[in-house]
Symmetry: C2
Subunit: 403 residues, 2 copies
Amino acid sequence: MPVCLVKAISRFCLFSTLAINQEYIESMQFEVIAQDPKSKARAGKITTPHGEILTPIFMPVGTAGTVKAVHQRELENDIKAQIILGNTYHLYLRPGIELLKKAGGLHRFNGWKRPILTDSGGYQVYSLTENRQITEEGVFFKSHIDGSKHFFTPEKVMDIERAIGADIIMALDECTPYPCDYAYAKQSMEMTHRWLKRCIRRIEETEPLYGYEQTLFPIVQGSVYKDLRQASAEFVAACECDGNAIGGLSVGEPAELMYEMTELVCDLLPKDKPRYLMGVGTPANLLECIALGVDMFDCVMPTRNARNGMLFTTQGIINIRNKKWQEDFSPIDEPLGGYVSTFYSKAYLRHLIMNKEILGAQIASVHNLTFYLWLVNQAREHILAGDFYEWKKQILPIVSQRL
Amino acid sequence: MPVCLVKAISRFCLFSTLAINQEYIESMQFEVIAQDPKSKARAGKITTPHGEILTPIFMPVGTAGTVKAVHQRELENDIKAQIILGNTYHLYLRPGIELLKKAGGLHRFNGWKRPILTDSGGYQVYSLTENRQITEEGVFFKSHIDGSKHFFTPEKVMDIERAIGADIIMALDECTPYPCDYAYAKQSMEMTHRWLKRCIRRIEETEPLYGYEQTLFPIVQGSVYKDLRQASAEFVAACECDGNAIGGLSVGEPAELMYEMTELVCDLLPKDKPRYLMGVGTPANLLECIALGVDMFDCVMPTRNARNGMLFTTQGIINIRNKKWQEDFSPIDEPLGGYVSTFYSKAYLRHLIMNKEILGAQIASVHNLTFYLWLVNQAREHILAGDFYEWKKQILPIVSQRL
């Protein structure tokens, strides 16, 4: 019997009341299944304690334990999400870590049985600008809800992510703004590296709480400076974690700079580990970055923009608030298929969004996420078929156009 | 071949492009199937152009063409709604009658294929208090949205309800407040009667727009005065419409007065026509009024209160915002069954409602409506079984208690 299986069984017995449906696995596995001949795109499979993820994948953002306006069964059956995100900053503030521990982790709290990834809170804290102060030890910040004061260290964030219990957990980093001067970017990146070492140490010193392993992803920083991005990618690669992330992009820089940095970093990160580009992006961003070797994406765009009436469809981008859709009784997106996109008309959705009806947010959110998951799945199919490059060239102008 | 069928077929050909799935029927049918031996409760069946309704029934309120926070398929598959309401006042203002006409009526606009009932706008206009003026000719009012000025006459309301295209349409009435002095109640009731005659005339003079008949329900008024209620019920009964409604109750009067008026009116309204008690009520109100012979109910309570965290369950009433539910990881209402009530925990729903997450409104709304439909269906089953009275006595204190 392999050692990991023995260890697995004994831990399984220890936590038998928390047993999960999937076979117990010691840690995340990743396998590259196919490589596109004309780009760096690849199709892969990640195996986690809560099941498989076929890559490239888009991960819907479930901020405070809920993907806004979307039922868990809609995520599973309609959107066909394979993994969702939780935001450590939000979950830490509400419902709070003690409650999540009592629930037995986020999976048990919200009922989502497939994989979950948690960010580190670094991005949200960075967004607070006026209300945070970054030191070598960690980050002081004031809650955006009640102004209460908190302190996140790399160690504390690891403990919080242990308590949330996601399959993939992110290291604490500082996400630099754009533009960012070189000196600050360099010094911040170096601190992020030191924080990474502290995160790794803490994870090694602690055990998961719910009977399955959690996999730490480090984050490459370095703003838009090639030498910094190179140094950071090399540092991160040397840590030999089971997956790696690229942070600090999609913060206002031109798309070309984002692609340049992504390509540079992807080329340096190990080929046999999944690569996760954080907070990206538009359908076009996804396609371009898949071509550069990115395997995983997350972004609030499909849900946040949905609530404002922006729809991503197989025919292009629709602002449903425009008067041109007022009398368009055709389905939202017939070719996409699925309940909301074929059952409800553009005119009806426009009426709901214009009048701030909750159902409008529900329909648009499910639609946009269905489209995003369709897009990455299509990309995967074309990588497997060997014609991803040609397909991307053909579909990119279609899904990017404003209708 | 019966005359109505010939007429039906010729009209069907005329409107063939608007043909609906159901067999064309000339007008609404109602059949009393069973009568409870120890109360006036009865089980029945209403047949409309969009299908059957088993009574007693609760009708979810779909204000502006949407039951707030609930998908149409959830209404059908989870809640098992048989008929929903549309509010004429809201639909007239948004999306507007011209758009509904272009869509081919409300059914086609929102995709709900089963029966719809529209109110007359009388209640909403009455609620505007400061912003309306009632005259013999009709009601002047200012929109609650943009302050624009409008004038509803009985004739205009009938035309609007024709354009919305509900299966059952309500006459324009004045809903008197509580308390209301006798003189005002009498004079208002008499005007409501004159308006009713104008509504009936208009309906007789006009044709439905979408190839199926619409059935007008008159409304009994008379505040809490027995002689007025009696006069109004007799007037309404004499109009020989295919169904009748009781309005002006559940506006602040004690429950006992509401029951007294309901019983008095039910006894005077024809037995072979469905009786609809408007805007009622709590689970207890429904059970008591079913016992008095009411067949149809509508109320915003299950959806509006859901959004504020009040849950009606098989075990009693829950205010999910109470701290006592914070760590209750049991399902919302296991015995009720259904997805939302068994999948999501009380603690998770509390977290969502406390943090104003849209999913909280979604879960609570589907749950409460599922409970309301379950309650009236249970009532029906017990009427059919002949033990409604005993069952009501047993279940009433349970569903009314605060947990």
